[in-house]
């Protein structure tokens, strides 16, 4: 559903500074375009004012003398018209140039703004996404960028145009008649006063309309999503009753809001007419008595100018709210652009390695199948190469997502290359958190994590993550083909490699049964696949990356038993020969783990092999034998 435009009270801090920044952003790339636009605006406004003044010239200079002259010579008139036509021509060209240039400026700015925004977003730490809802982030891309477009392409130029118009028209009005100008100004003030009253009322009702719209949307969304429940509980009439109440309320507020907004038009128009006729009457008096050299032609021109004076002023006032909306949008955009990206002080990098016969390691240009950490020691200046094996050590690690809410306490663990470490425990015990620390989605507060003996803080994040494969519990797939989704794990993989990975993950068979096989498009996070199938693709994606260390978060939700067996088998094949951290929900996964960690409220309370832990008859034993009632009381 496209987002609704919000009509709301807008609060912007430092609006001028913000406007300056927006302009700065635009002008950095498009200063020449913008300058040309400004010139074009001046030219076209000047041309149109000259055009209006022509009515006076037409009557006073050409027609009145012609009426009196015995010889009807139209040649001077033709000359005059030609001159004005030239003005008009230039005006039209300038207006076209202005429109055309504005397209490049506004769309180009939006493109750059979007790219900046997205580029920044990709570098933000995971914690940013934890603390901001997806809807909130999305609305920056949809609503805020849109209001910015309004600001750059319409509001700013039309404010500028308005000012120029008012100045030029005003000057000409004064030249024609200072007295009448005074009268016009008084009328403008009256119009301002009345319309601000009416639009104030409209604004109040618009915000209550907005509130009722939100209420109705909320109700509809909740009730329609639960419509099947409504049906099975025979609750239709109550649902209608609730709906009617909100719907009636919305009608009231919408009617009032639209009423006031609508009548603003005729009020302004008729006040404009009043101003027109007042000027005409007074102007007529001036012209009859010839006061201040005021002529019939002057009157005709003045009356048009008076109209043209009102128009830009009305337009400018209507732009003020959209300027504020645009700035509020810009504020939210810049809030993201100004975010600190994920910090990375790492300097140890991952390189292709050649292992010589004597065991020494050399850096290699090509893919050798071996990897090494390139470790330039800062103090000695010596570069050391450490083979990537997948040896992970946690040393007394403490962690909290937010200060004061510690999640992990004194976690120690040791995984030698090729070992399988399983974490078990209740939801919220900290299993997923541990795996998030290994790839540095979050940074620990105390203690150390070492990877092949190197503190992971010294390893460049990208290289660290390259060396780890992750299969998350909730699978995310991208809107592209199955093939490309698997290839996501290794962008330069050949089709054969993709198929091999799919075979390893037990995904090959179902993929070949899809309508277009590997070229089947996945949409909306793989909605067209079952959950088990999506997981198989995620496993294939990890398999193709072929990392030495794997982190697997098993799915808990109900996959049917056959697919589950396939997923299980796929995971087992993937784990073979790799250091694996698995968050286990199924017993079969746990039983053959080299070491099982039992977590409880952020502490590792038991550790050991399946046999050891069963013999111990502790928490693990209780979980395993299903004797949970006892352990629950113990935990509470």
């Amino acid at each position: 559903m496209p987002p609704r435009r919000q009509i709301q009270k807008v609060k912007v801090e430092h609006p001028w500074k913000l406007l300056g920044r927006v302009l700065g952003f635009v002008l950095k790339r498009y200063w020449l375009h913008y300058l040309l636009v400004l010139i074009a605006i001046v030219v076209s406004v000047y041309a149109s004012v000259q055009g209006t003044m022509f009515t006076k010239t037409l009557i006073d200079v050409y027609i009145t003398p012609l009426l009196a002259a015995p010889e009807k010579d139209f040649a001077p008139l033709l000359g005059g018209i030609k001159r004005v036509a030239m003005f008009y021509g230039i005006g039209v060209i300038a207006a076209y140039l202005q429109q055309r240039l504005m397209i490049y400026i506004s769309q180009g700015t939006l493109r750059d703004m979007r790219i900046d925004l997205f580029d920044k977003m990709e570098t933000l730490p995971i914690s940013y996404f934890d603390s901001h809802s997806h809807g909130e982030i999305m609305s920056v891309y949809t609503n805020d960028i849109d209001t910015l477009r309004q600001l750059v392409s319409q509001s700013i130029p039309s404010l500028f145009q308005g000012v120029i118009q008012v100045v030029m028209v005003f000057t000409n009005m004064i030249i024609l008649s200072p007295y009448l100008t005074g009268l016009s100004v008084i009328m403008i003030i009256v119009i301002f006063f009345v319309s601000s009253k009416v639009s104030g009322a409209a604004g109040r009702f618009f915000s209550s309309q907005q509130r009722d719209v939100a209420k109705l949307d909320g109700y509809v969304e909740e009730m329609i999503n639960g419509q099947k429940v409504v049906k099975t509980f025979a609750h239709e009439e109550k649902a209608i009753e609730g709906f009617k109440q909100i719907n009636d309320q919305l009608f009231d507020s919408a009617y009032n809001a639209n009423k006031f907004a609508n009548i603003l038009g005729p009020i302004n128009a008729q006040l404009g007419n009043v101003s027109y006729v007042l000027c005409a009457t007074v102007g007529g008096y001036l012209a009859i008595n010839g006061i201040g050299g005021f002529t019939l032609g002057s009157l005709a021109s003045y009356l048009t100018l008076n109209r043209n004076f009102m128009m830009p002023i009305n337009q400018m006032t209507s732009q003020i709210n959209s300027v504020l909306l645009g700035l509020a949008g810009a504020q939210r955009i810049f809030a993201i652009v100004d975010q600190e990206p994920e910090a990375d002080e790492g300097y140890v990098t991952l390189v292709n390695a050649k292992i010589n016969e004597d065991g020494s390691i050399e850096e290699s240009e090509e893919r050798t199948g071996h990897w090494a950490w390139k470790y330039p020691h800062k103090t000695s200046g010596v570069t050391e190469y450490v083979e990537l094996k997948g040896d992970v050590v946690f040393d007394d690690v403490d962690f909290s997502y937010r200060p004061g809410h510690q999640v992990l306490y004194n976690v120690d663990l040791y995984a030698t290359p090729g070992q399988k470490i399983a974490f078990v425990g209740s939801t919220g015990a900290g299993k997923t958190t541990i795996t998030n620390l290994i790839n540095r989605f979050y940074d620990i507060q105390d203690g150390k994590i070492r990877y092949d003996g190197i503190n992971i803080n010294k390893i460049k994040k990208n290289d660290l993550r390259h060396s780890l494969g992750i299969v998350l519990q909730d699978t995310h797939l991208f809107t592209t083909t199955v093939k490309e989704n698997i290839r996501y794990g290794k962008l330069d993989a050949t089709d054969e490699e993709v198929i091999a990975a799919a075979k390893l993950a037990n995904a090959h068979e179902f993929i070949t049964h899809l309508p277009q096989g590997y070229d089947t498009m996945l949409e909306g996070d793989g909605q067209n696949l079952s959950q088990g199938q999506r997981q198989l693709i995620a496993i294939a994606r990890a398999a193709i990356a072929d990392p030495p260390v794997l982190i697997l978060d098993e799915a808990t939700s109900s996959i049917d038993t056959r697919t589950e067996a396939l997923v299980q088998e796929g995971m087992d094949k993937l784990m073979a020969g790799r250091t694996t951290f698995v968050i286990a929900h199924r017993l079969s996964t746990v039983r053959n783990a080299d070491c099982i960690m039992v977590l409880e409220k952020g502490h590792i309370i038991e550790r050991g092999s399946h046999k050891d832990l069963i013999a111990k008859e502790g928490r693990y034993y209780q979980l395993y034998t299903g004797n949970q009632a006892k352990s629950e009381t113990a935990a509470a």
Partner: protein, 580 residues
């Protein structure tokens, strides 16, 4: 479509008729004003007659007042009619949706229904309200102004006809192309936003695979494409307003030239010339207005069509003429039942035959897509069978009053929803008049009482929309309690304990046996442990009943059942404690 929507105007018919009338009045008075002004200049200023000037000024003020009144009424009534129409559309749609069967809902999808009730209605409201005011205003302004121009000077008016034709041709050619271009851009634009959305929700995958650069590159390309499309679409619109000025300026110059001749020839007065120039603007502005209206109406036509679809859709479940209002007991019979979601689709279930006695507990297992959910949804007649019949309490389900049947067959759906409100309010969906004690009793059977009582506000705890502030297991137990409050004949749990831990589930099964022995219970589950002590277990495979018997019998006779059992043995399946 128009007829369907037209019916919804109802009590706003008078306003809908009066709006254009007042708008016409406004136009009429507004167009007379320039005519009066001409007289003021010619007979007043030119002749130096101040009295005439005053007389005309008063007339114009009167006209302005009349125009103000008509404009005010027209716009006010327009708002009234527009908002009222939208109000009626929403209400009719919502009431209609309440009569929908499950297959009607599936057809539109919930997201589709929500969009139709919200966005589509606002689109139609805008077009309707605008249409009422402009449909008459713009053409009549055009016609009246043109008529006035002809009245003053047919020779000059011809120039306007020419200008109007040129402008009309431009509008007819440009508008549809513009609309098409923009539609294309907006589709792409939606795609772009969707890919952002995808990146936001899959950010962990992106970062885990170190694909930030790759995603940035992909996005940059997409953003540049959007830029190109937008520029292309807008280039055309950029011609629009300069072209309009060109036509206006051209007309003014022609009028000046011709006008001067006519004045000199004594066929026209100077005052008339200024009025003619005013009409020129009015004519061309109303042309533009017509163009805009045309675009708006075509754009809202799609929305109007989608709304009409909802209103015209008929529920495919027919209520019987002489319905049965009492479900005698909880026995269930499937008699040669075939089922498909759409008439011509492949059968989901074929030739099911089954008898379930009142009060029995029945387990139901099978792979995803084998037809378990379809099977149980036939019992409360959420869908109709293609062939054969389903009998509940001895009657064909088609003979029952639907509400009666739904109240007697409580179904806890796989995708279950709680509603915003307190726990009590949610539970009372099952029975509005349930006492606090009855609610607590149901919660106790569903094993929900224990965690509810641990909440600071107990049963008055507020549940957020969609039940986001309770865990999956808690939500499932609340939904079961809610269903129990209906005191049904039959209780169906469609995989509704998947997030409840095994120990709690065992307690729930025990409570079912002891507290509600008279209710027929049908339990769909992935875990064998959830169903192994049922009276009988049905194994469904590929839309057919592959086996039906007790746990022990099935272990012996059903290879499918045996293999599922085997894969899950060695404890109780999994380690999780229902996400608490």
């Amino acid at each position: 479509m128009l007829k369907t929507l037209g019916k919804q105007i109802k009590q706003f018919k008078l306003a809908s008729i009066l709006t254009p009338f007042f708008m016409f009045m406004e136009v009429l008075t507004e167009t007379i004003i320039p005519l009066l002004m001409a007289s003021m200049i010619d007979n007043g200023v030119n002749k130096g007659d101040m009295g005439h000037i005053r007389y005309i000024a008063l007339l114009v003020l009167g006209m302005a007042l009349l125009a103000l009144f008509s404009g005010y009424m027209g716009n006010r009534l327009g708002a009234y009619a527009g908002c009222g129409f939208a109000h009626n559309l929403r209400e009719t749609m919502y009431e209609k949706i309440q009569t929908y069967s499950f297959s009607n809902i599936d057809k539109f999808s919930t997201a589709g229904l929500v969009t139709r009730l919200t966005t589509d209605v606002s689109n139609v409201q805008m077009a309707y309200s605008m249409g009422l005011r402009m449909a008459v205003r713009a053409p009549s302004n055009l016609i009246v102004a043109m008529a006035m121009a002809f009245l003053i000077s047919p020779k000059i008016a011809l120039i306007y006809v020419g200008a109007a034709v040129i402008l009309m041709i431009a509008i007819i050619i440009l508008m549809p192309i513009t609309a098409k271009n923009f539609r294309a851009v907006f589709t792409k634009y939606d795609d772009l936003n969707e890919s952002v959305q995808e990146n936001v929700s899959a950010i962990r995958v992106v970062k885990a695979y170190v694909r930030e650069d790759y995603e940035q590159e992909k996005f940059n390309t997409a953003a540049r494409n959007i830029y190109r499309l937008f520029v292309k679409a807008e280039k055309l619109t950029a011609i629009f307003s300069p072209f309009m000025s060109l036509v206006v300026y051209g007309s003014i110059l022609l009028v000046s030239w011709r006008g001067a001749h006519l004045i000199v020839g004594g066929e026209l007065t100077t005052g008339n010339l200024t009025s003619l120039l005013t009409y020129c603007m009015q004519i061309l502005m109303s042309m533009m207005m017509l163009g805009m209206m045309f675009v708006m109406i075509t754009m809202s036509a799609a929305s109007a069509k989608r709304i009409a679809e909802v209103i015209e859709e008929e529920s495919d479940l027919k209520e019987p003429e002489d319905p049965v209002y009492e479900v005698p007991d909880g026995s269930i019979v499937f008699d040669h039942v075939d089922f498909a979601y759409k008439k011509d689709d492949n059968l989901i279930l074929s030739d099911l035959n089954l008898e379930i006695g009142s009060g029995e507990t029945i387990g139901l297992v099978g792979a995803t897509g084998s037809g378990k959910s379809s099977f149980v949804s036939l019992i409360p007649r959420l869908y109709d069978t293609v062939r054969g019949e389903v009998r509940v309490g001895g009657h064909n389900v088609k003979e029952y009053d639907l509400d009666t049947l739904h109240n007697a067959v409580a179904m806890v759906l796989q995708k279950n929803e709680l509603f915003s409100g307190t726990i009590y309010e949610n539970l009372r969906w099952g029975n509005e008049n349930a006492t606090d004690e009855e609610c607590q009793k149901a919660a106790a059977i569903a094993q929900a009482a224990e965690f509810i009582e641990r909440f600071p506000d107990g049963y008055n705890t507020h549940i957020e929309q969609g039940g986001t502030n309770v865990s999956g297991g808690q939500k499932q137990r609340l939904c079961i309690a809610r269903a129990l409050l209906k005191n049904p004949r039959i209780l169906i749990l469609d995989d509704s304990t998947s997030a409840v831990d095994t120990a709690t589930e065992a307690k729930m099964r025990k409570a079912f046996r002891e507290d509600i022995p008279h209710i027929t219970k049908i339990i769909i589950a992935q875990r064998i442990s959830s169903v192994q002590d049922a009276d009988k277990i049905i194994v469904i495979d590929d839309g057919k009943i592959s086996a039906f018997g007790t746990h022990e019998e099935l272990l012996k006779n059903s290879p499918i059942y045996a293999s599922i059992y085997e894969s899950q043995t060695g404890g109780n399946g999994d380690f999780d404690e229902g996400g608490e």
